[in-house]
């Protein structure tokens, strides 16, 4: 029976302790160099390493979120600012900085299963998608594809110094290190869903500034996106379905603004139209709260 080995084994371990006096535990007879304790020490190391990496990725994700949000705020100024070109250039510089952070994320994830750390970086990536697709829309009046986004997230570095250190002889003069990060389809969809909120704001802002073309362009564009999300419906993950409600509201606001433009446009001269909408814009902002 097992009792023979069991009690014999444990008794032996107890006696081993006395000469060494390694008892760190007041509960006594726990040998800190027993195989169990050695295993748990390695578990401690493994868990700490994993948690540290997760934390580094969370920090990077936060930086990505903040910088992406600032880019979005910057891009909104394009409606009222005459110097659109300058704003676009500045936004490109900001997005490049974000991409450098994403490069660091990619480097952290080398040799790792991305999905193990996905929750750490997902918020940042969604915000980045929102910012980059916003800029893309302003430039091209179209929706950036996930492929386009991921193309910009391939980072290469020419490393001449590595060549002398590596034993595996690479006959080429330069070695290319490549890191890449792929935004998942779900993160892309969630980012685009949030984009619609910004487009709605852009619509109201442009109306308030007397731009009466943008709202109609936006309305058409938003409708296409809404149709896309409706097509997906509930077949996606829950987080995607949840966004559909807010999307519908954003679209409704834009459509109502277009309606008002159309109806009032026929009775009020253009130069007064702006005044009508600046008050209406205030009302819409207020009901939205601080969003």
């Amino acid at each position: 029976m097992s009792s023979k080995e069991g009690s014999g084994g444990f008794r032996k371990r107890k006696h081993d302790n006395f000469p060494h006096g390694q008892r760190k535990d007041e509960k006594d007879s726990v040998n800190s160099s027993s195989s169990l304790m050695v295993s748990f020490k390695s578990f401690q190391l493994e868990l700490d390493t994993r948690h540290d990496k997760y934390e580094r990725l969370v920090k990077l994700s936060r930086d990505i979120t903040i910088e992406s949000k600032r880019t979005i705020f910057l891009l909104h100024r394009i409606t009222s600012d005459p110097n659109g070109e300058e704003i676009l250039n500045e936004s490109e510089a900001k997005l490049e900085a974000v991409r450098q952070k994403i490069k660091q994320v990619a480097q952290e994830l080398i040799g790792e299963d991305m999905h193990q750390f996905h929750r750490a970086i997902s918020p940042g990536l969604q915000e980045y998608v929102e910012a980059v697709s916003f800029q893309y829309f302003i430039k091209t009046r179209s929706l950036i594809s996930v492929k386009e986004i991921n193309k910009q997230l391939i980072f290469t570095m020419e490393d001449k110094e590595e060549e002398t250190n590596t034993p595996s002889s690479n006959p080429h003069d330069k070695q290319l290190c490549t890191w890449s990060l792929k935004v998942t389809p779900v993160d892309y969809l969630l980012g685009v869903a949030d984009l619609t909120g910004e487009l709605m704001r852009m619509c109201i802002n442009s109306v308030g500034n007397g731009d009466i073309d943008t709202p109609f362009e936006l309305s058409q564009f938003l409708r296409q996106i809404y149709d896309g999300f409706s097509y997906i419906g509930n077949t996606g993950p829950y987080e995607v379905s949840k966004k559909l409600y807010t999307l519908k509201q954003s679209l409704a606001k834009v459509e109502n603004a277009c309606y008002t433009l159309k109806v009032r446009g026929s009775e009020i001269p253009k130069h007064m139209l702006a005044d009508v909408f600046s008050t209406k814009a205030e009302m819409i902002d207020r009901e939205e709260g601080l969003s």
Partner: protein, 229 residues
């Protein structure tokens, strides 16, 4: 690419993902069934008569693990090998349960803690993530903590069945396990919550040992050990 085309493509990707998950769910169900069978088998050791049968039960349980190996081999084929953590949530629970059952069998056989490598051998999976379908360390630790709860129950029932030495050995084992867990820096997640239960297991076993020692029953056991069963 038109917006509508993009969404049609995306829809295709999402649907394909759902299909994979459906396949995974089916296999996980079979795993859960086998796990329940092993559990029912091993629960029998808590009964008075069950003590004699321990070796037989362990052998029977190991036979069931053969089925588990086959089912896990099937599970491996349901998704791309490098996307383990994408679908991990689907089998996390049953895998933790299987770790517990393997640890319980090994404890009943040898009164030692099954190592992570030994569990992966019993289950027929890899030890490292790089080599394929593996056992995540947190799942291993969760399973081990469930073992602690089971052993605190076994300590109580051992006394009831007249075995006064087993609880003492369980006590030593659990105390060492507790010391091991104290080394870990855990985050506030489900593993941490489960670990918080360990101190109640430790306490319960200590009470059993105390009850035995003040009545002198443990000394009786010590002198009988080896010849009792």
């Amino acid at each position: 690419m038109a917006v509508s085309e993009m969404f049609i493509t995306l829809q295709g990707v999402l649907t394909a993902d759902q299909d994979i998950r459906e396949e995974i769910r089916k296999v996980v169900q079979t795993l859960e069934q086998t796990a329940r069978e092993i559990l029912t088998l091993l629960q029998g050791v808590h009964q008075g008569a069950g003590f004699q049968d321990i070796p037989k039960k362990c052998l029977k349980a190991r036979e069931h693990f053969g089925a588990v190996k086959t089912q896990l081999a099937s599970l491996k084929t349901k998704f791309p090998a490098d996307q383990y953590y994408r679908f991990h949530e689907h089998w996390r629970f049953v895998l933790q349960r299987l770790v517990f059952l393997a640890a319980f069998v090994v404890y009943l056989e040898t009164e030692t803690l099954v190592t992570r490598e030994a569990v992966t051998e019993i289950l027929g999976i890899e030890a490292d993530r790089e080599r394929g379908f593996h056992l995540d360390i947190e799942d291993y630790l969760s399973g081990v903590l469930t073992l602690a709860s089971e052993l605190s129950r076994l300590a109580v029932n051992s006394v009831t069945a007249g075995d006064y030495s087993r609880p003492l050995r369980i006590s030593t084992f659990i105390n060492e396990l507790d010391s091991g867990f104290r080394l870990l820096n855990l985050k506030n997640d489900s593993l941490r919550k489960r670990y918080d239960g360990l101190k109640y297991d430790v306490k319960k076993i200590e009470e059993v040992v105390y009850d035995l020692s003040i009545r002198g029953l443990n000394k009786e056991a010590a002198s009988d050990a080896g010849g009792e069963k």
